[in-house]
Subunit: 468 residues, 2 copies
């Protein structure tokens, strides 16, 4: 324990009149009610990547605003414009929900960021249960978005609710900023943050993000994330799919082009581009069984990587189909680390794939688009925000937290840092095995309820931070 | 015109009492009725590759049997056993429908082969119309299976029907053998042909297959097809899909493995395996714009090729998903040519992909399965069957037919040849632009009706063939 921690602990315990027992008791007695709200939220298929689900996403934002109003917040729904679609049309973005609880200038002001959109999920992807029907199995609450990020957002709202229900003053002013496009790159939010830098954010001291998970069974504080450059590589050839018997051997097949530039050529990049070498190198070399714990975590947090997620337009059903797909779109993403710039990654990847494709002398057309370009983020784990986090974890869980980084991306963290200049902490309550983005995503009752208590305690600890 | 053609033409015209005008007039006056039957057949989603559609496929076989009975055939539905599924269970194969019209020992006997199963099709694949609702646009009849192979099968049944309706004796005895598994490799049919070699096939002189298309607007006779070895390459890794941010860089991703062996390594095969070199070579080298007509047709008919159809298990929807798929299955097929043996291709492909995969030292599991292994077929285009075909084409269309081979595969042609020893002709009526296996498959009213007339004429011409 270092000296800062010691000072903080002295400040945070004993002296205060923090009525923590009463607050946690309230959480315990309202567990089923909190789960019921989560059930209602999970039932909304707020998949931001699927434009056909946009009405559900709008409804999810309305429900979020309504919930915040219900617990006494001053709520606004901020129009952040439209989204340009690949076909040239545009679509309204989900509004960003902001809320304010308290305006006492003598208190600290925190801003809680979260999102209520989710990744795609279908039962037939291999879910044991309907992904949009919250299902409790042995104390685990299964459903798409349970851990990422609906339960954490609700835990924060319940935090405020619990203070209010017990008529206990919030120890800090609390603001909320809840978006609906996180899973596809937080479209529109960057501009909104820039626009509201001197209004909504002017009195904010700290920004809290609870959109990640612990590393183990021990609670964690997160001080860094990787960025994400998500690419579409589209190869377009014949006007329509062709019979592979009739045309095989007489046309350059878009699928062969695509597999070739993704496969052969990504390996060849090992010898050419430094950054891309790093990306593609590690996924071919690393595997936990061969790695020490330090290596493993380094490759998860500090090294870039690439993942090929799938191919749109090709035959993807069970069974056989003898078709030459006319247009195929590979989806792959590169997680970058500090000092990598998405704009540079975009140029390098685009130039490289085009140069490789050109060598094939294919008559087909290649189009590379970076559809998400989210920067990495890094904080100082010695900042008082983290000391407050340690104290809160200690109070609720009676252990020291892990201090970790995150392999995933919370696109907006870096924008908050760059635009507002505020200090940021990531305070996760999700379990290490929650299966974010995967089949059978869940959050446990334990993490949902104890996580709410952690947030309750954290507001108190933050109120104890001395101004520098 | 060679001497055999001349002799045939002399035999076929003038001397005979062939009432061709009456027969074609009947076809003309029943066009709408014939199209209505096709509409009913197209409405059945008899996709043999999708086990969930098996009830539709059984229904399609029943409808075929019923139609043959209605026009006076002696019909049997032959049980050809069950199909083993990848999960270890088994499923009843669709029965094979046989029918017989006439048993006059003084006449020739032909056996018409066809199939009533279809390739997969979904509106969202890019069809302009519902693939299972026959739609007439400018004289083209759009629907899955319209050209491949429902309309040709119906044209043959209508041929018999027309003779009967006009009370004209069939010039030859006609047998039918109609199956429902052609699109997935004619499962069960090989064994049935072997079993019935000395019964159903004993009095058959010739086998006629009309399961292909013309090369141009000119009618064609087809004397060869390529074979088809269809592979599943499955790479299985984590127990479930993983978040690519959280796990990217720390696991060997099945998708990376798969793309790598399909892309990099298939190219490397250029230097190793002769047969595979041929396969993968031509698809990277050939393109119509760079090729003479002879080269183009050679690569379509006489050279092997490979097509990668798609990947099951990866993300294939529009939009973005940051997932590491846990299990991915590439589907690819190799069209082989005479003197290539599917068993050898299977061993070479399997061994090679495993050897390449082994070098990656991936902890994932690779499983290669050849799910279709259909042999190529080649006939003698100077055989009297083809001379009869020329005469029939000349009678109906007043042109000489193209003599062509087919890039696609009719799996059973080779089995008929090897097992029964009978001579075979492929007599297509489908148009060159019918889009078999593709979106917006169609047959034109013209090809459907004139094709029926071609079959009517062909039965007459075959009856004129002298015994050797």
């Amino acid at each position: 324990m270092n000296s800062i921690t010691l000072v903080c602990l002295l400040l945070c315990t004993g002296v205060s009149s923090f009525r923590f027992e009463e607050l946690t008791q309230y959480v315990n007695s309202h567990e089923e009610e909190f789960i019921e709200t989560l059930r209602q939220w999970i039932a909304v298929e707020s998949d931001s990547s699927d434009v056909t689900k946009r009405p559900d996403l709008h409804r999810m934002m309305d429900m979020t605003a309504e919930k915040l109003r219900l617990v006494g917040g001053s709520v606004e729904m901020v129009d952040v414009g439209t989204q340009a679609l690949p076909n040239g049309s545009s679509l309204a973005l989900p509004k960003v929900v902001t809320a304010r609880f308290g305006e006492d200038p003598s208190k600290r002001t925190v801003c809680v960021y979260g999102h209520v959109d989710v990744q795609p999920a279908k039962k037939e992807d291999g879910w044991a249960t309907d992904p949009y029907e919250l299902t409790d199995i042995d104390g685990n609450l299964y459903g798409r978005g349970a851990s990422d990020n609906k339960a954490p957002v609700l835990a924060w709202i319940h935090t405020v609710e619990v203070y209010k229900a017990l008529n206990i003053d919030l120890p800090v002013n609390v603001k909320f900023i809840i978006e609906g496009m996180e899973e596809t790159g937080s479209n529109g939010l960057d501009d909104m943050i820039v626009a509201q830098k001197d209004s909504f954010f002017s009195d904010v001291d700290y920004i809290i993000i609870s959109d990640c998970v612990w590393l183990s069974r021990r609670p964690a504080l997160t001080y860094g994330t990787r960025g994400n450059c998500y690419f579409f590589a589209e190869v377009e050839g014949p006007k329509k799919d062709l019979h592979s018997g009739v045309y095989g051997g007489t046309v350059m097949e878009p699928m062969t082009d695509l597999i070739s530039i993704l496969g052969a050529d990504l390996l060849r990049q090992l010898k050419t581009l430094h950054i891309i070498r790093l990306c593609f190198g590690c996924s071919t070399k690393l595997f936990p069984l061969d790695s020490s714990k330090v290596d493993l975590l380094a490759h998860r947090w500090r090294h870039p990587t690439v993942s090929i997620h799938g191919i749109e337009g090709a035959f993807s059903s069970p069974g056989t189909k003898t078709v030459i797909p006319a247009k195929v779109i590979a989806k792959f993403s590169i997680r970058q680390v500090p000092n990598m710039d998405p704009a540079v990654v975009e140029k390098q990847v685009t130039d490289y794939l085009h140069s490789v494709f050109a060598k094939r002398k294919s008559p087909n057309k290649l189009n590379i688009t970076m559809v998400i370009g989210a920067k990495p983020w890094l904080a100082d784990p010695k900042h008082p925000l983290y000391e407050a986090g340690k104290a809160a974890v200690k109070r609720v869980f009676a252990v020291e937290p892990d201090l970790i980084r995150e392999g995933g991306t919370i696109p907006i963290a870096r924008t908050f840092q760059d635009v507002t200049g505020k200090s940021i902490i990531m305070l996760p309550i999700g379990g290490f095995d929650d299966g974010l983005h995967s089949q059978n995503e869940k959050i446990s009752r334990y993490n949902y309820m104890e996580g709410t208590k952690l947030f309750i305690a954290y507001l108190h600890e933050v109120s104890q931070i001395k101004k520098y």
